[in-house]
């Protein structure tokens, strides 16, 4: 069993309804397949709002049930775990969310979360031991128990409280952390410290990450592999270096070209098309990017492109058939 993948997402879809009584159905996640080897790695799922990246993350965490397909964590279906396996899964896989102020109840002291996690997931009874573990987790994030004891969420800055939520996630020594936009609400000067912390965790404790983001620059900085999503589909997937620098899919190209970076004034000025009507694109039977793609053909509108392999990158675009 040692060869099994850490995470295996098999042809997963999630269909939501909208409109009157939810009669119109649209796929928020549309036949997504991806896998993560059982080695410490950072895997990024990148895309713009409405691309399904958060829905996919929630399905990986077992919080949302897929309409079709299965998600296996180390060989076990995360949506069908028996009680013992459930505790094991909760210990092994942890989550960090975008808005740390949403993570914590404003009326509850933040240190109680750490004590609860320690006693529930680690099944520790001894106070001394619990405090030791908490101290250890906090130290990794650059905080100390003394600093946070007795404080409520509103007494922290955004960067500080995100560190507390990371420390909480670290407590059970997870093998995988799913981080959904963990730094998008944190200031630039502190953002990089949190990303560096993820890298350090990867090398020191062997924790793998699924990093969900809209920001390709930070994705490039920390990830080994990346999947780019558009309207529920993976349009390009492979090693981050190749996907982000070679850019095969027209959407990846448009995204990178739109990224404002100092010193890239001229490159940034090339025109791109603005995304079209969301719902129309979600329901399209063909390639969902076709509507605004500069390379669009008749076939793109009618037929959905499968993932074509170019070396170790896979691209869903008829250009690469």
């Amino acid at each position: 069993m040692s060869e099994e993948n850490l995470l295996q997402v098999e042809d997963v879809s999630k269909i939501y309804g909208y409109g009157f009584l939810g009669r119109v159905k649209f796929p928020a996640v549309d036949h997504v397949t991806l896998s993560m080897e059982n080695k410490p790695k950072i895997f990024t799922i990148a895309g713009e709002s409405g691309c399904g990246k958060t829905t996919l993350a929630r399905m990986m965490l077992g919080m949302v049930k897929p309409t079709a397909g299965t998600i296996l964590y180390r060989g076990k279906n995360v949506h069908n775990l028996k009680s013992k396996d459930r505790t094991w899964f909760l210990r092994e896989v942890q989550a960090i969310f975008q808005d740390p102020f949403d993570t914590f109840n404003p009326l509850k002291r933040v240190d109680t979360y750490l004590y609860e996690t320690a006693s529930n997931l680690l099944k520790l009874k001894n106070d001394e031991e619990i405090r030791g573990k908490i101290e250890e987790a906090l130290r990794f994030t650059g905080l100390s128990l003394e600093e946070i004891t007795g404080k409520y969420p509103n007494e922290f800055s955004g960067g500080q409280i995100q560190r507390v939520s990371i420390a909480r996630a670290l407590l059970p020594k997870p093998r995988l952390i799913v981080a959904d936009e963990p730094v998008s609400m944190v200031d630039a000067s502190i953002r990089i410290n949190i990303l560096n912390m993820f890298k350090a965790l990867l090398t020191k404790t062997g924790t793998s990450f699924i990093y969900i983001t809209h920001d390709l620059a930070t994705a490039y900085y920390i990830s080994d592999e990346i999947a780019i999503m558009y309207r529920g589909m993976i349009v390009e997937i492979g090693p981050a270096e190749k996907v982000l620098l070679k850019r095969h899919h027209p959407y990846t190209q448009a995204l990178v070209k739109s990224l404002p970076e100092p010193g890239k004034k001229e490159e940034w000025k090339t025109r791109v098309n603005a995304p079209g009507m969301e719902i129309k694109e979600f329901l399209s039977p063909g390639c969902k990017y076709a509507d605004i793609c500069p390379h669009k053909t008749e076939r793109c509108v009618k037929e959905k492109p499968p993932l074509f392999e170019i070396g170790d990158v896979k691209v869903a675009c008829w250009l690469y058939e």
Binding site: D187, L245, L255, S258, P260, P262
Partner: protein, 333 residues
Amino acid sequence: MDVVLKADDLSGGYLLVQKGSSEKNEVYVDAVSDVSLQLERNEIFGIAGESGCGKSTLLKMIYGLLEPPLILRGGSVTFITVDGEIPITSLSENDLRRRVWWKKISYIPQSSMNVLNPTVRIRDHFIEMFTFHARMTKNEAYAEARKYIDQMGLPRDVLSAFPHQLSGGMRQRVVIALSLLLNPNIVLADEPTSALDVISQKVVLTMLEEAQKELKNTLVIVSHDLGIHGVMTHRMGIMYAGKIVEIGKTEEIFEDPLHPYSEALIRSLPKLGDKKQRTGLGGHPPDLKKPPSGCRFHPRCPYAMPICSRTPPKMKMIKPGRYVACWKNSMEE
């Protein structure tokens, strides 16, 4: 230098009343402290800084929008027209509304894509502006609005839509079109794209940039995203804890940041194609209810000297057009 607006020693902030158990006690948040700034004609000026550094407050004060609890503590803002000077800070709101706002200076507030009236079609937003400010009849105004929408490169069916039928990016473009309608000399945009995806962001920013090129007016962009300043602005000012710490040509600041805070911000920026390890800053921005003594950056500054915690450094010209408020740079001379 062809100055269109200047702020001199501008100070202001939020006066909050905290109701205690027995007596009222007032707390002052020192959001903008002794800021001096000159905007030129025909330029894009950027104000950069992290959340809570006072950049949005500064923009509001430049516009003259002093709604409680925001108060002016000192200094002045002067708008310089060909016919003379208009003292923004000493005009009443009524005068500003009549003489300055929309016509001379327009302001695009943060998350402004939500400022459109949800029960009114886009068309009627334009018609109201034309009939109120340009004294046109309704029909004239409608014809003018259609012409204008074409000019701005927006699809015509936008006019008959209600705001909720448009995407965030499209609504933001409508708000920008409205702000440019009366040909203002200065356009103040507060985080014009912070809620948008990168591609929509680019479309919106390109629209602003093209309009500036055509009208040759002054565009001020407030943004926390240094990337936006890098591709859009000609000059920029970097703010930290209520003070501008550095002003200069955008390219020069990126190439050679002089203030330790600018340096830290620029150094921490990840870039595509560059895997070099970056470092961030330690510590956290100060609470502006009780800002640190001396230079407000000194508790986080890697170069802090004894003088930094005692005396605040003054803005000093390093070379023409380049200003820095830092003891390190003042000492080296």
